[in-house]
Amino acid sequence: MTEILKLFLKIYLLILMIILTLYAIRHYVFSFNRLFGKQRMYYQDIIDSDLPFISVLIPMHNEEKVLHTILNSLINTDYPKDKLEIIPVNDHSTDKTKEILDNYASKYSFIKPFHRYSGDRGKQNALNDAVEVAKGEIIVVYDADYIVPKGQLKDMIKFFIDPEVAAVMGRVVPVNFESNFLTMMLDLERSAGYQVDQQARYKLDLIPQYGGTVGAFRKDVFINLGKFDPKVLAEDTELTFKIFLNGYKVAYANRLECYEEAPEDWYIRAKQVRRWSRGHNQVLFKYFIPLILSDKLRLIQKIDGLFLLFVYAVPFFTLLGFFASLILFFLGDMTISSYYLFLLAVFAYNSYGNFAPFFQIVTAAILDGRVYSVRIIPLFFFSFVFNLFYTSLGFVDAVIDIILKRKPVWHKTLRFRKDKDVKADDNNK
């Protein structure tokens, strides 16, 4: 019996090691490609006097602290106001969000708040409802804590001259880098994720991800694809796979940089990671088989799609691997478990902890010219177990969702906006 258990655990660890190594190789390929490969030209360089009518949707739930910044930055945008409507989607707010939005609406005719106090709360539900009232052929989505640069909307919509592009995604840059260790870490993590990962995936014609904010999508395609699934928390990832499985593409635009507010508290970050993981894994369960069977994707896209789908599931299996190696250790079979440990450590830096190997973060830092911040990368070590644990919890949540067919409740990320961060907004006025 013990021997069978040992054999089973060894096979499990072996398979896991291979998967972890494949992830590491994938990230090295991305990094080299981004660092030295020819990049794709962006559509943003096109100057076109014909602009479509667009609707900017900003889902909000109790955002009185931050909504001024995003609305002011959108008011200052150079997009012609006769071709623009801004729809702040007030989703069951209980603070002063409603009053502030109505005040804005009375001053600016292109701001048309959409108050939503019935139905289920949640970003995906709010957007589904708001799209119904939006008049724009292109729907642009920003989260409420973002600060939009003046020319960004114009640059963003140019990607839709490509008939294949159904959604476009920009780059997210944390505004509160200096706040603490967590925000510094998230900043470097974001850099690696966007500057290298997303950009390489776009360049290699794989599966760049629509990230749900600093992004836009075609309204007609969105409605034809059945809008967001209200049961899925990661509405962005879901839309990405829907788009690719239906023969469209997501374009990633590295130039469309936008400030966001990164969580400053580990506890809130934990909730965020858990929610992302839960949502992402819901997408995994929903699209795993359709992805494999799809006739719209090339083999390489399917492989990348699988890697992408499993990103938030692998930590759970890694954690199981940790326990498996612990069992093997006490059963007297240290060899395989020690090799697993070694690979776990490789993975800690290579693939997980931040979804990017240290080399990928270094690549992003070189490209972004972050001469000094790059030195804090070793400290990612301390977030490794944290991420492993909370991502695994998210995976478990998603499994329970499937079994019990329960409806997930959206928990909003708390805001930390202080006056100093808003200075950028004041400059904009």
Binding site: M41, Y43, S73, I161, D162, S191, Y372, R375, N427
Partner: protein, 345 residues
């Protein structure tokens, strides 16, 4: 005693032989070398030398960005340093032909400005050198019939006629520009009027003309913007509409091609309504009118009668490598390439 002839181990050998380390000392050494790698990241975490990544919130794409922002800086510099200067009109009225040293608004460094009504006539009072290493403000129309190398920016507050070979760092003309001699511009050429190119010109980066550009001699460039860019001679797009139905081919909707795209037409008139997007070389030749944007991940070749865009609108021709224009071509708007391109009328 341990003996090694390995140079790599020499230092250890030395330590072990000379310092008779106690057990606790070795543990201490381990603790220290364990701590060393943590020092750098923790120090960086503490001092936070770099701030957040700077995202320019005022950034807005515009082809006249270089010229406009330079003019704004110039106005700022002059109004900070000289009394009675509030607008460009005030600059035009400055009488002096003097060399002033002023604090430049951009980098707070000192820069020399030569403000004159007639540069060619008055430069001899200042220098006989061919290389001019100060900013030139010509407050009136100007005819350059001597060769110069301008190491700094030149701003002409009227029309400019170039009759002699010159090199400009950057040239801003607030009237029309006539290029009758071989000219080279290093950074940008900004013209608030019409441009007539009758001799070779090489523009390092951006060429902007707010009215029109008429090209009769080769132009090397990277980006060109003008509401009307005419190479060789004007083409009347009305003939596309007036021609018999069976001589006209209309392609509507956006078109995306993975491989090369080649549209050539001598007999028939082709009207392409939507955007043209190509992942490889894109060639349009003959009677082809692309009413919308033309985009390629490689090169774009336009020749012999091609029209891009529609009158009174701005459309773009964008390529990752070159945009090569040969013969009669008309473009309403913007041409963008990442490598040095050429217009050969």
């Amino acid at each position: 005693m341990i003996i090694t002839n390995n140079p790599f181990l020499f230092i250890f050998q030395y330590i072990f032989d000379n310092l008779h380390l106690a057990l606790w000392q070795i543990v201490l050494i381990f603790a220290i070398i364990f701590a060393i790698p943590l020092i750098f990241p923790l120090y960086e975490l503490w001092r936070k030398k770099e701030g957040k990544l700077n995202v320019d919130l005022l950034y807005s794409r515009s082809p006249d960005y270089w010229g406009k922002s330079y003019l704004n800086l110039l106005l700022c510099t002059l109004s900070n340093n000289l009394n009675n200067i509030k607008s460009f009109d005030d600059i035009k009225n400055i009488e002096a032909d003097v060399l002033l040293e002023l604090n430049f608004c951009f980098d707070k460094g000192k820069d020399k400005f030569f403000i004159t009504k007639d540069f060619v006539k008055n430069i001899e009072k200042i220098t006989n050198a061919k290389k001019i290493n100060f900013i030139v403000l010509n407050t009136n129309n100007s005819v350059l019939d001597k060769s110069f190398v301008f190491d700094k920016e030149v701003i002409i507050f009227g029309d400019l006629i170039l009759n002699s070979e010159c090199i400009f760092n950057s040239l801003i003309v607030l009237g029309d520009l006539y290029i009758n001699s071989k000219t080279r511009v290093l950074k940008f050429l900004h013209v608030e009027g019409k441009v007539f190119i009758n001799n070779e010109i090489n523009i390092g980066n951006i060429f902007y003309a707010s009215d029109s550009i008429s090209v009769l001699a080769p132009v090397a460039y990277k980006r060109i913007f003008s509401p009307r860019i005419i190479s060789k001679e004007d083409i009347d797009e009305h003939k596309y509409l007036n021609v018999e139905e069976n001589k006209r081919i209309e392609i509507s909707g956006n078109m995306k091609v993975e491989g090369k795209l080649n549209i050539e037409s001598k007999e028939k008139y082709v009207i392409i309504d939507g955007n043209l997007i190509c992942n490889s070389d894109l060639k349009l030749a003959g009677n082809v009118w692309a009413k919308n944007n033309v985009f390629s991940q490689e090169n774009i070749f336009l020749s012999d009668g091609v029209i891009v865009g529609v009158s009174n609108k701005i459309k773009s021709v964008v390529a990752r490598k070159k945009v090569v224009i040969n013969g009669k071509v008309k473009i309403y708007g913007y041409v963008h390439s990442e490598q040095e391109s050429i217009i050969n009328p």
